[in-house]
Symmetry: C2
Subunit: 511 residues, 2 copies
């Protein structure tokens, strides 16, 4: 870790508190009179009540004041604009910033946001020092979250390098630990408004004060290259396998993965699970990873966790009328959910995934179905799920991450939010194309990190909306859509394959 | 079941007791004077003290007297001779037979035995009736035994059709239920001597009176075609899967295998396990079945049970320097122990075996090594195991079943006792060729059904004797024996590969 004058995020927070008083009391380099109302003028000269943005945030928005003034350069414009409005309108409490945006209209705020969004920031505040334990905890919160406390991984939404995901999700790199922890505190205390999904206050309330320090400090050490290699995990030695009940199972902590070739294979499986298009590139033809449907790296109860699947297979499946080993079941995911090519059952990819699942299942009895298996099916809806109502639910709850067009979001060349339909999503043979399966998944797990907040009816409707868009052909396709529908889709309630939606017969092969 | 005048084996036993009194009291068709001492004369006319053999046992030794006189025709000569001697010498208490053999020398007894051994018996006593529950219990004792009470399956030693295995093991078909249950009672009470291995008294003491009735009645219903199809298992419904401790695990009863394609796959796996040269004929090039090394169909604790293996894999193995799935581990058995061809990991044979193992493991926690795993290794011997002493142990304890030449025994076209060396046994790459592995196996499991009776030193010595014979080449063979020994065998303590034994370098390729 780089040397730095700050000892810890806690002492930094004290420093910041002092700075806030200093800057609030002083009239720094503000324009002497308020006459020019262009955004540029505000940026460089201020609005007559406070100095120009660049005075505190730097010419390129690189931040300053030892973290009192955050990095805003290069952040998504929509995010910056939303923050400026929230401060102006009082939803985001910020005594320093309030005078700077007072009286600016929406157009000027948007222009300011766009200006800073276009800036490239090359300088970073000095990296703080942190203990090995804190670094390890921070790393794991960034990469894996703490789902036992409802906290998804930072990287899952802020991007694999934490550089943000346009349009709405800010980058976290280039901020000081003090700024980051102050924001988490503000979310926790209601001083910073949640976005529509209400995710960040949930996250902040799931973190202990020590967690906030650890994750803020860790993120402040990151550089544009992205997340560091996994640091040593000091608590690994304390974990011991033990027999557990299927009613209340906890998979082993990631820190318990052993060294050596067996542990390497577990780690390989986990990495393929988390980024399948990269880890199993030979066999994937879309943008989905295993973890998109099996949350918390396949660990999360009621999100079709892999430990529950592992102890269940081999089992007979009506889908292929065969007894399926775990390997064969995974091959099915490649064929349908990955719209891919089936890897050989003894390929390194499949072996690594099976090894990972086996390890996740440590202590779970074989052949007894845990209650957390699969996705808990919803009671039938009243009437047919309504894709029109679903479109409204989608716009409010899903579009921020998955896009209005359902095509997901990419950041730094990697898929952060998966496409839900279209050529880069799962195909018409995947289980998730079934409206009842999707509704169950959505109700339990979406919006990401806020599972259980949608009503059952909303889940049915939005599942119908998502699954009434076209997607890659069912690989079992025979003859024509109608025949294929009869043969493989007739049994699916509310199924859209072969149905006419907005003048198009879904599943029609491309010409 | 065929109609029959006997209601149960219990009532039959009462009938037999009456017959014994009748026959002992009457002087039936015996020779008037004792002058001709040829065996033929004894067989047809008697020895002057009792009538000729055929008077009671029938012209072809088919038996008679409603089971008072057993079927002796077609039985192995050595077995018959041993019985005649035991009766003559008073080790086998039999008041009816004693006068018939009194005063006959060994040569005549051998000639009588050989005569009846050559007879073909085409007639069977009428089959008794039995309840479904009794038939089911009898079937399972014949086919599977009751290892919880130390009882191996009847078929394991008496042959798959219970027609006996030359030279020493009698057939059980063609006998009445009364005769069979009387013999088990006699073994239990010490009225019939054990052979050298002491197995039958152990078996009889492991059976309850109800078991004796069930197995005797069931066997009496069998006809030359061999064992019947599995009868309905009335107790199947009562079993429920439950989480169990790795310390004290019991696999599910065979009666719990479900109906339908999943159950069919379990049964296929079990059948391949029990008769691998038949069930996986494409991939096996010797006479060994999985169950030869994994007793009680892979269920028996400390006999490398498959449930302990199933929860252990995937695991890293030094042998192939790979993380091995269960499938890969089974492939290893085919390559070495079966001296065979490796089946594809998704072949029906491997899938069936994995499905069987998964089902056997029901309720056992994943990834926690049960104490009953593998074969419990013995403490190191004092000095080098002595193949000379081992030869003596072998002759006394192993040769009866595996043959003086170690080539095992076949009956009815099927291997009953596996060859321990030579071209039809496991090859030089199999784990069992290691003297310490074989010693551990033998000590715990041999003689069959009498595991734990040999001393540890005897186990070491006989393991050295068995494994100091030649066998098929190590499939990893490179260049020459010495190189192969260096590469793959140098680490094996007491290993014989590449060693000179009686003037031959073991492992030398055939010219």
């Amino acid at each position: 870790m780089n040397p730095n004058r700050f000892r810890s995020a806690a002492s930094l927070r004290l420093t910041l508190a002092g700075l806030v008083l200093v800057t609030a009391g002083a009239g720094l380099a503000m324009k002497s009179s308020w006459s020019d109302d262009t955004a540029d003028s505000v940026i460089f000269h201020g609005n007559g009540k406070a100095p120009g943005c660049v005075v505190c945030h730097g010419a390129h928005g690189e931040g300053g004041g030892n973290g009192a003034f955050p990095r805003i350069g290069g952040q998504p414009a929509a995010y910056l604009e939303a923050q400026l409005r929230a401060i102006r309108d009082g939803q985001r409490a910020n005594a320093v910033m309030a005078p700077s945006v007072a009286g600016l209209d929406d157009d000027r705020l948007r222009a300011i946001a766009q200006y800073f969004s276009r800036q490239e920031v090359g300088t970073y505040p000095p990296a703080p020092e942190a203990s090995q334990a804190r670094t390890s905890r921070g790393y794991r919160l960034v990469m894996f979250g703490d789902w036992d406390h409802g906290v998804p991984a930072c990287a899952d939404c802020h991007g694999p390098a934490l550089n943000g995901v346009a349009p709405a999700i800010p980058g976290l790199t280039g901020q000081t630990a003090g700024y980051l922890s102050a924001q988490l505190d503000a979310y926790r205390n209601g001083q910073r408004p949640a976005n529509a999904l209400g995710l960040m206050p949930r996250v902040a309330r799931g973190l202990s004060p020590d967690d906030i320090t650890a994750v803020s400090t860790y993120i402040a050490t990151l550089r544009p290259g992205g997340v560091m290699e996994a640091p040593a995990a000091p608590e690994a030695a304390s974990w011991k396998p033990r027999a557990q009940s299927p009613e209340d199972f906890t998979p082993p902590p990631d820190t318990a993965i052993p060294e050596g070739p067996y542990g390497d294979m577990i780690r390989l499986g986990e990495s393929i699970f988390n980024d399948t298009p990269t880890g199993a590139s030979k066999y994937v033809r879309n943008d989905l990873s295993c973890r998109n449907c099996h949350l918390d790296r396949g660990r999360l109860a009621s999100s079709s966790p892999m430990w529950a699947a592992y102890v269940h297979y081999p089992e007979y499946r009506k889908k292929n009328r065969l007894v399926n080993t775990m390997q064969m079941r995974i091959q099915g995911c490649f064929r349908y959910s990955e719209n891919g090519i089936v890897p050989p059952s003894d390929s390194p990819e499949i072996t690594a995934l099976v090894t990972y699942f086996h390890w996740l299942s440590t202590g779970l009895p074989v052949g007894i179905k845990p209650p957390a298996s699969g996705y808990r099916r919803l009671p039938p809806p009243t009437g047919t799920p309504d894709r029109g109502r679903g479109a409204v639910v989608y716009a409010a709850n899903c579009a921020m991450c998955h896009g209005e067009d359902g095509q997901g979001r990419v950041a730094g060349g990697r898929v952060v939010f998966p496409p839900l339909w279209g050529p880069r999503s799962f195909n018409w043979g995947a289980g998730m194309h079934q409206v009842d399966m999707a509704a169950a998944f959505i109700r339990a797990n979406m919006p990401y990190g806020a599972g259980g907040t949608l009503s059952e009816q909303d889940a049915w409707d939005v599942a119908a909306y998502v699954n009434s868009h076209d997607r890659p052909q069912d690989p079992r396709f025979v003859d024509d859509v109608e025949t294929t529908r009869e043969k493989f889709h007739a049994k699916h309630r509310f199924g859209y394959y072969g149905r006419d939606v907005e003048g198009v017969t879904l599943g029609t092969p491309a010409h």
